[in-house]
């Protein structure tokens, strides 16, 4: 029993670490631009296909190391260009937040069907990051899970460092906290919007590379990821990075324990019940600002 609990906790921690990577990117975009990116889940799938092309199709040397090395600039560029070409022109309208939501919803559907057209309707699988197991006493851990956990946490720490120690990171926070104040000190708001979109694309793309090893790459799977990321950000508090972090680990643990004790079919019910109760008592979420 005790070993099982440890095992489930480890599984919850691993889920939480990947969810945090995905949810923080979504909440970052909302916090800075006050617009919701519905295409977020599709970029997760894009991350999975990106790794699949490099690893399975091209057999890139260096394995996952090369994939991560290539992913950061590619996802940054994709996110940045997409923001500049599709989203930025909408800002001249008074109700641009609503227009961005409509556009990203369309983009999500476009990407999902494009994935299906290009890669076919069947799911694809990625090779494991690491093979084998580690035994600690009677407990057996998969090296792949440990690798995913360590990489997710490293990515989070890396993004945290960028946000708190670089001029661009500080500017991102400044725009999120006070857009007028940011303009007053001379922060180019539009460039920061694009940079934020790009950073969040990197985060969800890396999340896709890591989690698709466990969950397979489903061309239409973006919607589920989008819902998951939304549940975490709404539970943690829209726009609150710290709230999303806590929420990701709480929900990761909840999923693991409910799945173990009551069965996987009850996982979504438990997650959504927690979300609804939280929002009924505290509409701004765990750490959202009123």
């Amino acid at each position: 029993m005790f070993l099982e609990i440890i095992d489930v906790s480890v599984s919850g921690l691993i889920n939480g670490s990947i969810y945090s990577l995905m949810a923080v990117g979504l909440t970052l975009v909302y916090g800075v631009t006050k617009a919701f990116n519905f295409a977020y889940g599709s970029f997760y799938i894009f991350g999975g296909y990106f790794a699949w092309i490099l690893l399975v199709q091209l057999g890139i040397t260096g394995g996952y190391f090369s994939v991560f090395f290539a992913a950061v600039p590619v996802f940054f560029l994709v996110g940045y260009m997409l923001e500049k070409i599709l989203i930025s022109p909408l800002r001249k309208y008074d109700d641009w937040e609503m227009k961005v939501m409509m556009l990203t919803l369309g983009l999500a559907l476009f990407m999902d069907f494009a994935f299906q057209a290009v890669f076919g309707p069947r799911v694809k699988s990625l090779p494991g990051l690491l093979e084998g197991t580690i035994e600690i006493g009677e407990m057996v851990l998969f090296q792949q899970d440990i690798g995913i956990f360590v990489l997710s946490i490293s990515c989070m720490l890396g993004f945290g460092w960028v946000l708190n120690n670089t001029r661009t990171g500080m500017a991102v926070q400044a725009v999120a906290q006070n857009p007028m104040g940011a303009q007053i000190v001379g922060i180019p708001k539009n460039s920061i919007f694009a940079a934020t979109f790009a950073i969040s694309t990197i985060m969800v793309g890396l999340g896709g590379i890591l989690l698709c090893q466990k969950n397979l790459i489903d061309p239409m799977g973006g919607t589920n990821i989008m819902i998951k990321a939304w549940v975490i950000t709404a539970f943690g508090g829209m726009g609150s990075i710290r709230g999303s972090l806590y929420a990701a680990f709480i929900l990761g643990m909840l999923e693991a324990f409910v799945g173990w004790y009551f069965g996987m079919i009850h996982v979504q019910i438990a997650t959504l019940t927690l979300l609804l109760v939280t929002l009924a008592i505290r509409p701004q979420g765990l750490m959202g600002r009123e």
Partner: protein, 234 residues
């Protein structure tokens, strides 16, 4: 240094500034008086690129700046110090000041300016790790001015710095405006009715209903009984 010619500004359907013409010479302190809600703040914001719908002409050092993005204007050496502070609430005093020096121009002189700011606002620097959201109104106003000075601007557009402050803070603010002016900076300051400010003004404008209704020296105001009574309460 700054020339404004037939400037109009709009918020939605509302025509706020109507053919405003004014000028600010380098190294001077220009004060604009006028009732609340008559367009004084909009004028300063228009100069600094913070109002979207504007037409007419604004030139700074002979360069046309109307319609330029605010970050370009800040980089040219013009900064706006907001009446309602516009700080970054979840950042510390030090982080707010650091972001004040965001522009390329400011970055070059960041070290020199932080020393100057520390000498002007010693209390702020003693509590540099305090979050801006936990500061009182007067302290926040001081931080807003300090952050504005970090931008290394040559022209400071200061919006109602003494509004809603206790008398002791008001005196501090007048002293600081004097210090800024002594350092060769140009100040374009907007207030409602502060007689003490008149003493340091090289030129005074009065704005009513979005138009300039008076332009003159401090003596012109002080010798005009009607103006003294209406705008200075003297």
């Amino acid at each position: 240094m700054l020339k404004i010619d037939k400037l109009n500004a709009y918020y939605g359907q509302s025509h706020v500034l109507k053919n405003v013409t004014a000028s600010v010479e380098r190294g001077t302190v220009v004060v604009m008086l006028g009732p609340n809600g008559h367009g004084k703040s909009t004028l300063l914001k228009s100069i600094c690129g913070l109002v979207e719908k504007v037409d007419g002409r604004i030139s700074y050092d002979e360069q046309d700046i109307i319609g330029l993005a605010s970050d370009k204007i800040v980089n040219m050496g013009v900064t706006y110090i907001a009446e309602n502070r516009e700080l970054f609430p979840y950042m510390t005093i030090r982080e707010n000041l650091k972001l004040g020096a965001y522009s390329k121009k400011a970055r070059a002189n960041e070290k020199k300016n932080i020393e100057w700011v520390a000498s002007l606002f010693p209390k702020l620097m003693q509590r540099h790790n305090q979050l801006a959201r936990t500061m009182s109104g007067g302290e926040g106003k001081m931080l807003a001015i300090a952050r504005g000075l970090m931008s290394d601007a040559d022209l400071l557009c200061i919006d109602e710095p003494a509004l809603g402050l206790q008398p002791s803070y008001r005196i501090d603010i007048f002293n600081i405006v004097q210090e800024i002016s002594k350092r060769g900076k140009t100040v374009f300051l907007v207030e409602q009715n502060i007689p003490q400010l008149i003493e340091m003004a090289d030129k005074i404008y009065i704005m009513e209903e979005g138009s300039i209704s008076f332009e003159g020296s401090k003596d012109d105001v002080l010798n005009n009984e009607q103006l003294k009574e209406i705008f200075l309460g003297l």
